[in-house]
């Protein structure tokens, strides 16, 4: 090692050795190896984007997600055009969408939308839209995208069967779906930490008991149990109560994996020499656990958490899709997908699938992120032994 000043310390230094990062803490090493994982970095960026959307839902949605429009039932998506032709034939930067015209077939009474060449809806960034309350507190009118003429409606991702704007609904659903994943994982983490920690630290009968519990849990098919539990919830509960109840049900199922990770790390660390050394240094139990063992576990726990969130998201989506999870008026990706349940409606309005794309993107990104974190979690693993 070139850094060691005193040559007599290590006369056997290998001249071929390549100097490493000497005084880097574990987080810097983890960051170093995580950064090289390109997919994981992409995943991280997408995940952050999703949570930003969840945070600024009201501002990002062009309209109130619950506002219906009877004239725009199943209104198809409109493309944004950035440039507009002026009367004299020249081009100008004026973003707009082309308007659509509703027509009804005289014989079948089927309604169809067709482009209306005379109508253009001009769009602007940070324009005034329908008023709303940011985070339910601050009254605001600015929206990220708004029509120049107030009151004009446009549908970048189409409209549903009540003529509500899909884009706004998906953005609103992001908040619920992403947060339920986070909340569910938080609860399971608590369960997993307590049960796994107790199991790993005390061993013996406690450990056997928790192990059996985990085995039992793993041998049960989750969805029927979820369904059974959520079917037992009273239908007349307030949306918020139901939200928490569903979160609880999801986490009841998700804790096992986390408990397994925590227990495994605990067991491995408990006999590790440096933990014994910490005990002999005279540290209290709490100090041994939190000062010496925890730092080696945190990175692994973070990785497992990021892999547990997508499971929760899929679970919520599935439950809500079946009508046993969250219920309207709550908006989540699953609730939105429930609209796409029958083939006839999706044949008529394929854009009802859009929430599904959001689900896939979020789950994929979280998986990439978690994978990268798991690989980077132990920067000392590859070190020469």
């Amino acid at each position: 090692m070139s850094v060691v000043a005193d040559p007599h310390i290590d006369p056997n230094a290998d001249p071929r050795a390549i100097a490493g990062e000497d005084s880097a803490s574990q987080w810097r090493l983890i960051w170093g190896s995580f950064r090289r994982h390109r997919l994981a970095m992409t995943g991280a960026v997408v995940v952050i984007a999703f949570y930003l959307v969840a945070l600024f839902t009201e501002f990002l949605a062009p309209f109130d997600p619950d506002a219906p429009s009877s004239r725009d039932v199943y209104h198809p998506p409109q493309m944004i055009h950035l440039f507009d032709t002026n009367a004299d034939g020249s081009w100008a930067f004026r973003p707009h969408v082309n308007g659509m015209k509703l027509s009804r077939d005289r014989f079948t009474l089927k309604t169809t939308f067709s482009p209306d060449p005379d109508k253009k809806i001009y769009l602007t960034l940070f324009g005034d839209g329908t008023p709303y309350k940011m985070w339910g507190l601050i009254p605001m009118e600015k929206r990220l995208i708004a029509a120049v003429t107030p009151g004009e409606r446009f549908y970048l991702l189409g409209a549903d069967r009540l003529g509500r704007d899909m884009l706004s609904r998906i953005i609103a659903g992001t908040r619920v779906s992403m947060s339920i994943g986070l909340a569910g994982v938080a609860v399971s983490l608590l369960l997993g930490l307590v049960l796994g920690g107790v199991s790993g630290y005390y061993g013996g009968w406690v450990d056997t008991g928790v192990q059996r519990l985990i085995e039992l849990k793993l041998s049960l098919p989750t969805i029927p149990i979820w369904l059974g539990l959520s079917a037992a919830l009273p239908q007349d509960w307030a949306p918020l109560t139901r939200y928490f109840a569903i979160t609880l049900i999801l986490s009841l199922v998700g804790w096992t994996e986390l408990a397994r990770v925590v227990r495994g790390r605990f067991l491995a660390l408990r006999t590790e020499d440096f933990v014994v050394a910490a005990r002999l240094d005279g540290g209290s139990k709490a100090r041994v656990i939190f000062r010496h063992m925890m730092p080696s576990m945190v990175s692994h726990i973070i990785a497992s958490v990021s892999l547990a969130i997508p499971v929760m998201i899929i679970a919520e989506t599935s439950l809500s899709f079946l009508g046993l999870g969250l219920l309207p008026p709550t908006i989540s990706w699953g609730v939105l997908l429930k609209e796409a349940q029958n083939v006839r409606s999706i044949a008529q309005a394929p854009w009802l699938f859009a929430p599904g794309i959001a689900v896939c993107a979020a789950v994929l990104a979280l998986n990439f992120l978690g994978d990268g974190l798991r690989d980077a979690a132990d920067p000392y693993a590859q070190e020469g032994r």
Binding site: M1, D22, S23, S25, F274, H292
Partner: protein, 594 residues
């Protein structure tokens, strides 16, 4: 490169007048093997040249990272990726092997595609290999007979029946008891020594012309090592094989080598026959290596001088009839409870200012004994009496962790593994300062000063405090571990195999450091090791453990020169001596349980 690099490695001493020039069966010429890593190309083997002669053993010696294993693997082209033989030649003269038909037939193994059938026909048939880890070099889910017989069926067209018969014969040849039954066992039903015998049987299945043994006895106890070495020797004599034996242990080299090649940092620094290397080493590194070995295996001058000045005082740590059992559950549904006895009613006393050695083979209970002494483990019965610096005697055995905090400041531990005993997530300063911080004696600037002082005591610069353990080599880490042990100004240090994970040249440095600290800080040591040589250097008295029992105690020199117990005798006779003129293993005692 040393001066005699021009002559081929291990040119044998040909008796004058034999008339025939001995010809090598395998020649390695200018071999270079490289590993492409993200940070650049690493030359693991750098321009190595050596020759193997029928009926002779070439020992390749070197410390960890010297490239000796990679050299062996390069010969058969089985280096794991990203390793790659970059240049050089490996010439196998097939016409000189037992199967050779006389006609000149030389193959350059490097020129063959590592996956080609041409080189596969040579692996296991002309050139066979034995590996270090007997525990993991056999597949756990295939029967022994299947894995050994496979080589025969692969290279020779024989029936299943015949292959099986030959396998039984092979197992008998390597002295596996009841080969007819043993052939259908799985590796996990074998002990380590038996597995290594099975691996040897596998290597010998097709009567290879060259046997490459990569540290085949390193993972084994000395008594078993002696048996395996004798077996390899005898098999070689029977079949006139050329053996390339890779090891880091100079004692083993002296025991079996005809020729020696010394490697360091991927380069071959010296080569020659065993006597010239041991008696007239040319290269500094070889001399250094030999001195390190010779320094051990006799009492340290320094220690003797210290004891002459002040002889050990009254006993400060006395263990009487200490027993340790580990319970486990067995039987149907795991309802029956049983226990294995790890330490059986052991009694021992450590005097102030002396070094007490505990020696034993794996599974003898020596580590458990050490951990019980310090009460890391609870003990089943017996007493551990500690007399503190005020002359008060307490029994450690019944105390709880909380009550032990005080004695633990006086009795400290140094661990075997320099990698797992330091928390990789804390800086060296935090690690060393932890005991002082926890007992509240120092903090802030005072703590930093003390850490710097401790680092100085163990020979590390003060700047080391800011860095993390992974920035240090094994020897440096062991120094950090020692600094942590002496931090709260202790009186007793229990060192469990503290030098075993280190290369031999670092061992004496660490031992000397501990003697130095003993003088300065008035310490007493309990030193646990499997290595008699190290014990002899460092310890005043010795206790020999076998199967959980202390079979013999006494002054180190008395026990080593005149062992009383039959087990001690067999243990001592199995230790190879680093002098090729005193090959003793053939006269060794075998200890049989009475």
């Amino acid at each position: 490169m040393s001066g005699n690099a021009d002559s081929p490695a291990g040119m044998p001493n040909v008796p004058a007048g034999s008339g025939q020039e001995p010809r090598p069966v395998l020649e390695v010429r200018n071999l270079v093997t490289e590993f492409a890593t993200r940070r650049g190309v690493f030359r693991a083997v750098d321009d190595v040249t050596l020759s193997l002669y029928p009926g002779r053993t070439l020992c390749v010696v070197g410390e960890s990272g010297s490239g000796k294993s990679v050299t062996a693997r390069s010969i058969l082209q089985i280096v794991d990726p990203p390793g790659r033989v970059a240049s050089g030649q490996v010439l196998l003269h097939r016409h000189l092997t037992a199967r050779g038909r006389g006609a000149e037939n030389t193959v350059d193994l490097v020129s063959l595609d590592p996956r080609s059938s041409a080189i596969r026909a040579i692996r296991g048939r002309d050139v066979a290999m034995i590996f270090q880890e007997p525990m993991s070099s056999l597949s756990p889910v295939h029967r022994i007979g299947d894995q050994v017989g496979e080589v025969i069926r692969l290279h020779e067209h024989v029936s299943k029946r015949e292959a099986r018969d030959r396998t039984i014969e092979l197992l008998r040849k390597v002295e596996i008891p009841r080969p007819e039954v043993a052939i259908d066992r799985y590796p996990f039903e074998y002990s380590g020594g038996m597995r290594q015998r099975a691996v040897i049987a596998m290597a010998l299945a097709c009567n290879p012309a060259v046997l490459i043994a990569d540290e085949p006895t390193t993972a084994l106890d000395v008594t078993i090592q002696a048996e395996i070495l004798a077996l390899i020797r005898q098999l070689q004599r029977d079949s006139d094989m050329a053996v390339m034996f890779i090891t880091h242990d100079m004692g083993v080299v002296a025991e079996i080598a005809d020729d020696i090649a010394v490697m360091r940092f991927g380069k071959m620094v010296e080569r020659g026959d065993v006597f010239s290397i041991f008696e007239k080493p040319q290269h500094d590194y070889t001399r250094h290596l030999l001195n390190a070995v010779r320094e051990l295996d006799r009492p340290s001058e320094r220690r003797l001088a210290m004891r002459a000045k002040a002889s050990p005082g009254a006993p400060i740590l006395v263990m009487s009839d200490m027993r340790k059992e580990f319970p486990f559950s067995t039987g149907f549904l795991g309802l029956k409870h049983d226990s294995i006895v790890a330490v059986e009613d052991a009694s021992l006393a450590l005097k102030a200012g002396e070094n007490l050695g505990i020696v034993g083979e794996s599974g003898s209970g020596k580590t458990t004994l050490g951990r019980c002494l310090q009460r890391v483990h609870p003990v089943t019965s017996g007493r551990i009496l500690y007399t503190d610096r005020h002359g008060k005697t307490i029994d450690l055995a019944p105390l709880t962790d909380n009550q032990l905090k005080e004695p633990w400041r006086d009795i400290r531990m140094v661990f075997q593994d320099p990698f797992s005993s330091l928390n990789p997530r804390m800086t060296v300063g935090q690690i060393i300062g932890e005991p002082l911080l926890v007992n509240g004696s120092l903090s802030g600037a005072g703590l930093r000063a003390r850490v710097a002082e401790l680092l100085g005591l163990v020979g590390l610069p003060a700047s080391a405090a800011e860095r993390y353990p992974h920035a240090f080599s094994g020897g440096q880490r062991q120094r950090i571990s020692i600094a942590r042990a002496i931090a709260p100004d202790p009186r007793i240090i229990i060192a469990d195999e503290a030098s075993s994970a280190l290369d031999v040249s670092l061992r004496t440095q660490i031992l000397d450091l501990m003697l130095d600290l003993q003088e300065r800080l008035d310490l007493s040591f309990i030193f646990i090791s499997h290595d008699i040589a190290v014990i002899r250097y460092f310890c005043d008295r010795i206790a020999v453990m076998h199967r959980g029992r202390i079979v013999e105690t006494g002054d180190t020199e008395t026990v080593c020169s005149n062992p009383q117990h039959a087990y001690t005798q067999s243990l001592l006779s199995a230790v190879p001596v680093a002098d090729p003129r005193r090959r003793g293993m053939t006269h060794r005692f075998r200890y049989r349980e009475p």
